[in-house]
Amino acid sequence: MIKLVWLVPLLPLIGFMIIGFFGKKLSKGLVGTIASGAVLGAFAVSLGIFFELGGQTEKSVTIDLFSWITAGKLSIPFSFLVDPLSSLFLLIITGIGFLIHLYSIGYMHDDEGFSRFFAYLNLFVFFMLLLVLGSNYLIMFVGWEGVGLCSYLLIGFWFKNTAYNNAAKKAFIMNRIGDLGFLLGIILIFVTFGSISYNEVFEQAKHFIGDNSVITAIALLLFIGAMGKSAQLPLYTWLPDAMAGPTPVSALIHAATMVTAGIYMVSRSNILYTLSPFAMEVVAVVGVCTALFAATIGLAQNDIKKVLAYSTVSQLGYMFLALGVGAYTGAVFHVMTHAFFKALLFLGAGSVIHAMSGEQDIRKMGGLKKYIPITHLTFLLGTLAIVGFPGFSGFFSKDEILAHAWEHNKLLWFLGVLGAAMTTFYMFRLYFLTFKGSFRGTHDQEHHLHESPKSMTIPLIVLAVLSVVGGLIGIPEVLGGHHYLEAYLKPVFEDSSLRLVHHLSHETEYILMGVAISVMALAMYFAYNKYVKNKTLPANEGETLNPIHNLVYKKYLIDELYENVIMKPINFIGEALHKVVDNQIVDGIVNGFGSMVTGVSGVIRKAQSGNIGFYVFVMVISIVLILFTQLF
């Protein structure tokens, strides 16, 4: 099966091409079938690869397709690397991808851009697979930018809406900022190691002696890329805006897969980070800050998707915290569990929105429990998973991260726990406001409320199951389990783990778990108290809030800050350069030569007075000068 790995990205690509070229002529059913079928096929192959790889001793297989770029000693083949890490991601991408395709058939059924949507979606899957399959950084970069493109296309899917288009553009450009860092990182890798293929780079890095600052530089540059793609501070603002896209897109791209590309990249390059403690420190700090920062914003949002979006940013921060403290497995584990429950939550939110005929404001919902029971149940399970309710998938992965954080730095742990508390609070706030209480929307909406079709609920159910049981593959030793995932990923992180030794006593781990659970319970209680018992409602638009609340509600005015500090100055500089420097100064000098010649011409012409006397006078003076200069 491993030999057939090229089929994995190829199938969605073929799906994209068929739908892209002939989509208009095909029926919606056929389009949906082709698109989902392509991803399902890829999933099947991925599954095969996963098991084959698990069964064989050779854990890293490179499959060369063709030579892509060569320039001197730079030689970049178009080739794939199959190892535990990539095969795991293949499963997540194709698996969740398939479910979301399936869901979309129902969700997008009435949209006129139905086939276009599936074309983009397939293309996205293709690029995402390329990203994780590439055997060198440049192929990763291809996928990296490719998913960015698809993200752009899908956020701006409803292209008549200017705000959506702006959101799409913003996403692309913010990603590009990160991408530049990534690209420079790749180049620095090439300059340092003479190659950019994983195997060679990591092999050399293991024995790297010399100036560690180069490694730090590489790690930081790569991390800039990750910051863009995975929406970390300060490049996160695009992700909440990206909710402009259809909800399945939010689920697939902006929760489950694309945004975790940064985690993939860092864990893929784990050896480089391990070699640079400073870079790891940076990653951890950025991660935890993002986690907290986004969580606080999440506390005050009223748009169901926005809450989830900030939650995503926050969770991504956790993953980076994990990476930063050396818990690579924990990070990947959290990627996986997060993919399950966040996809679930988004799809659930999509189902809610579907039911609410497009309404996204939780202030206008409430009491939906009885109208859409399946959605409600799955959403509740997802919420429990994300807050880390014991036994649910999120519990295990979050616990692993926090344990490592504790070991690394107590403050990081504390902040992490604080973030978890907030997560719990805003998730339950969301849950309570949406499903509990009584309906606050219009009559029309109420009348219209209905459960989603099967094609939408089945994915919800599957994902709910996964969210609940997904954690089982990573039960820590301390709970008497066996960390299958860690064992599976061992070959990938082997070299790093040799350098990062973990030694946490079981007692400490129990205490940490206990603290986390009690904090969660506390936050849950607060939320319950406030939104169910007291039936508090978030303030409506226009109501005055206290300044801090207002600031948080306005997302700390970061967008406005960027607008005023970056975009406006750039526009101003552009205008100034254009109107003043370019037209007046640079071109002015050029034209100045012309006018100078004309001016001089006017002066010299005056000498040509037509008067013989003057002519002769000049001649005589010139003769005098000639004789004088030459003879005296």
Binding site: Q608, N611, G613
Partner: protein, 105 residues
């Protein structure tokens, strides 16, 4: 007995330089075209004098022969020049060179 054996050649050179300069002065000084013409003739005569002086000094007749050619040319120039002057006068009724400044710029 020739002057050249008594008078240094430099005197002749200086004399013709002075005469030449007077010719130049005439060209610069006057506005009447005919006088200017005459000043040019004076310049040519200064040259002639110089050539003759050199010729005698060097005992070489070529210098004096050259004077013939200058005379011929002077005559030709004067003939043509006066003819042009006549036709200028016919049109402008003036021999003032300051009137001849239609062509300029």
């Amino acid at each position: 007995m020739s002057a050249i054996q008594i008078i240094p050649i430099n005197w002749y050179i200086l004399l013709s330089a002075v005469l030449f300069t007077i010719g130049v002065l005439g060209v610069l000084f006057r506005r009447n075209a005919i006088i200017i013409f005459m000043s040019v003739e004076l310049m040519l005569n200064a040259v002639n004098l110089l050539l003759v002086a050199f010729s005698t000094y060097l005992s070489d007749s070529a210098g004096q022969v050259f004077v013939f050619f200058i005379m011929a040319v002077a005559a030709a120039e004067v003939a043509v020049g006066l003819a042009i002057l006549m036709s200028v006068y016919r049109n402008t009724k003036s021999t003032d060179i300051y009137m001849l400044n239609k062509l300029k710029g």
